[in-house]
Amino acid sequence: MTETPITMDKVEPTAPPRSQWADVWDQFRHHRGAMWGAGVFLFIVFLVLFGPWIYWNDPQYVPTGRDFLNLRDTRPIYVALFDSGAKTNWLHPLGTDNLGRDFLGRLLIGGRISLAVGMAAMILSVVLGTFIGVLAGYFRMLDGPLMRLTDLFLALPLLPLLLVAVLLFRDKLSGMFGPEGGTFILIVTLVGVTSWMQTARIVRGDVLALKEREFILAARSIGTTPSKMIARHLLPNVMSPIMVSATLGIATAIITESALSFLGFGFPPDFPTWGKLLFDAVDRMQLYPERVIWPGILISLTVLSVNYVGDGLRDALDPRIRGR
């Protein structure tokens, strides 16, 4: 159960000893799923970061006058393959929405917010959850109070909580960080603060079981300090549920963000996000299936790729699998 595998070789080492992280990277590199996942994820990040600069259409622009009627509701160009009568336009590869705004442009710019909110809120929620879970599981003194706090947060009704938070903090935050920065911080905090409880409960449960295992007893008997104990012995062993929580957390955060902006707590209504694009398109699902399919694919792809990265990371961090 120790971190560095005991080498049984009698041969003199010829190369300098490798660091643990090099080992982890080595293992990760050979994990096919993880490399694919990382590749796809980086590609999506690249697209949403640089896409809007390269891409020629302004996602917020609404054509006026005669252009409006010509440009609204154009279909993606691939639709012309099976429906020659469809209204398509090469300047708008994925078509336009019911107000003539370019759909690809909206997807790209919307991805920035969705990804940023999804990642940031997920990290916040996982860090918070892990921290509270480990503390509660390891220190018996803290278990009661922290778990009752968890119960409280689980019981709070989400919507009134959001209303109160918006009422109390929106103006202050937008004063400090500007309207968009303030909204971003508010949304990330709200999603993070309302979704850490499951991770905390799971981590605590695992830690409760782990800390009675022999290797912990052994570590304690040689005088390992609690902080070292947590960092070196407990955390690596609860990595897998944390990874699952993280993966699921991204999906939850992206969807919750759309619910927030739908309720009017999020970004201004003309700021597209994947969740909001998906929501707005549901009514016209039969007429324009592309408008639900693309945001749906992007959200799923992001979550899938993070899932595989998480799998690879978990395998790479597990000393028993490493080098197998």
């Binding site: 622009y61 006058g65 019911n98 209303l163 103006d171 309207p179 309720l263 009017g264 201004p268 549901v282």
Partner: protein
Amino acid sequence: MKLMTALMGASALAAVATTAFAAGHEGPRGRDGEVKIIYWQAPSILNPYLSSGTKDIESASMVIEPLARYDQDGNLVPWLVDEIPTTENGGVSEDLTSITWKITPGITWSDGSPFTSADVKFTYEYCSHPEGGCAQLTKFGGVSSIETPDDLTVVVNFEGSTPFPYGPFVGGESPILQAAQFADCLGARAPECTEANFNPIGTGPFVVTEFKPNDVITMAANENYRTDGKPAFASVTFKGGGDAAAAGRAVMETGEFDYAWNLQLAPDVIAKMQEGGKGTPVVGFGTLVERIMLNHTNPDPSLGPDERAVVRPHPFLQEPAVYKAMSMAIDRPLLVEVGYGQAGRVTCNWVPAPQLYASTSMNCDTQDLAGANALLDEAGFTDSDGDGVREANGVPMKILYQTSTNAVRQDFQALIKQWWAEIGIEAELRNVDASVFFGGDPGSPDTFQKFYADVEMYANNFSGTDPQSYLGNGLCDKAPSPDKQWQGENISRFCMEEFDALHAQLASTGDLNERGRIAQELNDMAVSNGMMIPLVDRGRLSAHSNSLGGVILNTWDSELWNVADWYRMK
């Protein structure tokens, strides 16, 4: 009063037409089995005096009825009475201080007991009880007493001369309650009468068999209903909940339901649903106008809580050139096409109907971006620093444009933002959840009354056909302010002495044609002085299945006003 006679004549004709219409579908009561109605807002209570939500009033209108109703054209129709009282037939006193209703003999409640004037009088007492918190108190505004000379005569006395005496007991909002059932429910005890509130005894075509609040109502035909052979349906399932799209789908695409109420959906979505071939949308117009209100106070966030949205004037919105240009930049026919389709009409008026009160003096059908730009240039509001946004009175013309969350409203916001950008006005958009926006909580910064924005968009209308109190929403002293807990209907804080004076004149005028003229003048005065930018006259779009006959969409009263005449087409 000539017009009133004309109204009566028309309504008499309408009554004849309805009977003729139903002639081919006669038969015993309850012959057509079940009818299923879906409202995407679920009814919470069947007592309109405790809740005036449309869902509650309309579901209750199948059970309890008023003395007279409005028909689909806004004319009064006698319902539980023989005729509409007027000054001509002596029903309304010459000095306009009392009105006498003659109840049709032989009407019974669904429990078989006779319907009498005592019930009508009781209804007034129920609503006017000081501790009752009656939602329809305005219906009885100005009533001093109610007399019941005999079982079939009701005399309503008003405190002063009342040119429009058809407030009490007219329309779905003030139906008659049974005195025997509600006798113990007066005042503070009103909420304790759950059984009565959920299952009122009425004179209507149906009686409640089971009421599940916020979910579903089941009803059965009223065996004691006054007309033989009606209603055609033996039972009703009245489902509530979900959203407009699901309701439309259930009627027009899957055919599970027969009638869906108020489908606020984009026209292309409705058209797609109609392709399902199971149902048909119907449209009716009332007085609902989607408008942009212009703030007449300064909403600058740097002002303190007692000054923000209180101190006048707005930095630039009261400049005639500015609000005229903002209105000219809007392509109203396009808004109608994008947002409402057949359920919308371009309007430049605050009061779009009835015809008597609807002004025809203004025209706003065509968008004129060039003209709007020229107007602003002429007034000297030019873009002096080259950032694409004009400056007016030393400040850049940047505005915050808020509205409630609703797919159509967000589309409108995006479109109008673009048009305003083209005339050099930059708009920042904000949407607020409807329950907060219309909530009126003085603690929230996001309510429409507080108006912490430069412009805001919503829809408003008035009940019944008389716009006097609605036009009163433009009076100076109705402006919301912190010392009034931000209550008040003058949302834009419009204030003009001439307007107040003219409104006082309206309140004291009895002649209908003169009232119409004054109302139109008030309407024009408010709109042309920058109180609001009217956008769309919004109709009501509902859908019924192709096999449901007898539906006449009525926006002046409950949509289910003639449910007794509905039948199944064979």
